[in-house]
């Protein structure tokens, strides 16, 4: 289904971003090919969300290049990201709470037939939400009336409307219940099967293991290892996240294993 299943779809090279004296990202590389799920993991403050915002055009990278295939591109603003086919679901979801579900889904790309075509938009909203097995009672209530999980679903649904090539998900399962988490993971696999590239930020190693093909670890704004999910252990990922094999997490794990051996 994908047009270009071999070449690299999106590659970031030596991306740096500073906020004043703080180097949020330093020389970060990342690559995602069509039909691949790349998980980006890292501790708090590792630069994951900054990376997302660079991809979405919210922040401009201070240095480094972004390329689609062989073509170098610039993402100067959210509109550029849209045009390139990079759709982003932010951690704070970026929904307008005073607007209803349909209005949020089609915000910035309303369907028109002279005036706004509310009927078609509502119909397509229901179709989309049904594809995602979303449980939203009414699409004509303001988003403020929805639960956190329902809002997450709306945000993900919105990212899919523009037929993106790359979907960036910033902690998509953080606010979800068990069934909804499973739905989102299914959804991510469906995106991959459709030939989209997926970049998923997550804290949850179980989710990462469930769907990701590759894991990129960030630590203090720098790359700290790339792994194939099939070949890496959780301990190795944790070690890369925290920065050493001997740390508070491994010591605790060892202690518990020792206690269990007795």
């Amino acid at each position: 289904m994908s047009a270009d299943a071999t070449g690299p779809a999106l590659s970031l090279r030596r991306i740096s971003k500073n906020f004043g004296a703080v180097a949020a990202l330093t020389d970060v590389d990342l690559e995602v090919t069509p039909g691949q799920v790349v998980a980006v993991v890292g501790d708090n403050g590792a630069g994951k969300s900054t990376l997302v915002k660079v991809l979405a055009g919210v922040h401009r990278a201070d240095a480094g290049t972004i390329a689609f295939g062989d073509r170098e591109v610039t993402i100067g603003g959210p509109a550029d990201a849209h045009a390139l086919g990079v759709a982003t679901v932010f951690q704070d979801l970026a929904l307008c709470e005073n607007l209803d579900v349909v209005e949020n889904l089609f915000l910035g790309r309303e369907l028109r037939r002279g005036r706004l075509d509310e009927v078609t938009m509502e119909l397509r909203s229901w179709e989309l939400l049904r594809q995602l097995s979303a449980r939203i009672p009414s699409v004509r209530v303001p988003v403020a009336a929805l639960s956190g999980g329902q809002r997450q679903t709306v945000a993900i649904a919105r990212s899919l409307l523009g037929d993106p090539r790359i979907v960036v998900l910033d902690e998509p399962t953080a606010a979800l219940g068990v069934a909804q988490t499973a739905e989102v993971l299914n959804l991510i696999e469906r995106l991959r099967d459709r030939g989209l590239g997926v970049i998923m930020i997550s804290h949850n190693l179980a989710d990462v293991r469930a769907v990701a093909d590759r894991v990129a670890v960030l630590r203090l704004g720098r790359n700290n290892g790339f792994f194939d999910t099939a070949e890496v252990s959780d301990e190795d990922i944790v070690a890369a996240i925290i920065g050493a094999a001997d740390n508070v997490v491994t010591r605790r794990a060892n202690r518990e294993r020792d206690a269990g051996d007795e």
Binding site: T88, L99, G108, R115, L116, T120, E122, A144
Partner: protein, 417 residues
């Protein structure tokens, strides 16, 4: 033809969720409305109740208040500030404010008078100069807010003083320029009334149009498998509008009738309503007012949205000032001064447009100005001077804002946004 459309074996697509508490028929519709009101989504209810109270009180104090002649006057008098309030609605929707609408309207009146009377420009050119100046002022505000990051509160407060100064300078030492009574502008504002037969035709058109658009929307929704209003409900709504407007037209026609200026104002409100609810421009205003950062990330040009809102507001303020001067047949130092500023903002807020952005609509300008003008008119009839008018209008504004804040809290608690 079934009124319920696809209802029957399979419910409409949007009513499938088993958690929805929705029944059929008028009782369920009424229950849904009561639910929304309890949740703080008050709609036009407080303002309709407020109008009833105000009219009852003034009628009991002075039996001339609800006479045809007085109401004819009240409606025409309400137009200039009503037009200004319509602009204020747009700025409030994006979560900004324009405190200088009074000064801008006064400046526009002065420009019209100076160019048309003193300089002898043709009328269309003078009007274009006045409204163009308004648009330019709005653009300057927008640049200050979006490029320099000046809060709109401060930018427009500075404008309030500056443009009042320009107005006084233009009017010169005498402080007033009379517009000739035989000019088209003055005749339009003072003497142009809709013929009785035409007023009934307009009422019929309004009710018929409401029914036809409602029916075509319902048909489109049914075709798409969505729930739709029943034809019975649409007929009832149109008949109610027909009866209400028809009665109002008949009552006003007992005196001079409905001023063309008021009809044009209503037309402007309808056009703005359409733009706000049926175009993507209108949608961006609500989105930016609700969450500017989310709107920006959705690819909306937030700066341009702010700019259109400010330009529209100042242009409408200029138009309002023009109409005020035409009504008075003069531009003087008092045009746009005094309580015009606050009345315009109060009308928008009283009408239901939130000061916090993202909620409201064009009709709040119409409803709000009716309240303000009723109070002002009633107090004038009672021979009370402007001191009382200021006090009462101030109190009503405070009440409206308090209601807005309380309703907002309640909406958050009940999940209506």
């Amino acid at each position: 033809m079934s009124d319920q459309g696809t209802a029957g074996a399979t419910p409409p697509l949007d009513l499938l969720d088993e958690r929805l508490r929705r029944g059929e028929g008028p009782r369920a519709a009424l229950a849904a409305i009561l639910d929304r009101i309890r949740g703080g989504d008050l709609g036009a209810l407080p303002i309709v109740l407020g109008l009833l109270v105000i009219w009852t009180v003034f009628q009991s104090l002075n039996s001339a208040f609800l006479s045809s002649a007085n109401l004819v006057n009240l409606l025409v008098e309400s137009v200039p500030v009503g037009v200004i309030a319509l602009g204020v609605v747009c700025v409030l929707l994006v979560g900004q404010i324009d405190l200088s609408v009074g000064s801008v309207s006064g400046l526009s009146a002065a420009i019209t008078a100076v160019t048309f009377v003193d300089a002898g420009w043709p009328m269309p050119l003078a009007l274009a100069a006045a409204i163009g100046t308004g648009a330019a002022i709005g653009w300057v505000y927008a640049m200050m807010v979006t490029r320099l990051g000046v809060p709109s509160f401060v930018a427009t407060l500075a404008g309030l003083l500056s443009f009042l100064g320009v107005q006084l300078y233009l009017l010169g030492r005498t402080g007033a320029i009379n517009l000739p009574y035989d000019s088209g502008l003055v005749r339009f504002a003072q003497l142009a009334f809709v013929p009785a037969w035409l007023s009934y035709v307009l009422v019929l058109l309004a009710a018929g149009w409401l029914f036809l658009t409602g029916r075509s929307l319902a048909a489109a929704r049914r075709r798409a498998g969505l729930s739709a209003r029943s034809t019975r409900l649409l007929v009832a709504r149109s008949l109610a509008v027909l009866a209400g407007l028809g009665f109002a037209a008949w009552y006003l026609n007992e005196a001079r009738g409905i001023g063309w200026m008021f009809v044009c104002f209503v037309g402007l409100v309808l056009a703005t309503h359409y733009a706000l609810t049926r175009t993507s421009w209108g949608r961006t205003l609500f989105a930016v007012g609700g969450n500017a950062e989310a709107a920006r990330r959705a690819g909306i040009n937030v700066r341009r949205t702010y700019t259109t809102a400010f330009v529209l507001c100042s242009s409408l303020a200029a138009l309002g000032g023009l109409l005020a001067a035409s009504r008075l047949a003069a531009a003087n130092q008092a045009t746009g001064a005094g309580d015009v500023n606050l009345n315009a903002i109060a009308a928008a807020v009283i009408g239901g447009t939130s000061l916090f952005g993202g909620r409201g609509g064009a009709f709040s300008a119409l409803l709000g100005i009716l309240v303000i003008q009723s109070i002002s008119n009633g107090l004038t009839l009672l021979d009370l001077d402007s001191s009382f008018r200021f006090i009462v209008t101030g109190l009503v504004l405070a009440l409206a804002v308090a209601l807005d804040s309380a309703a907002r809290r309640s909406r958050t608690a009940h999940g209506w946004a």
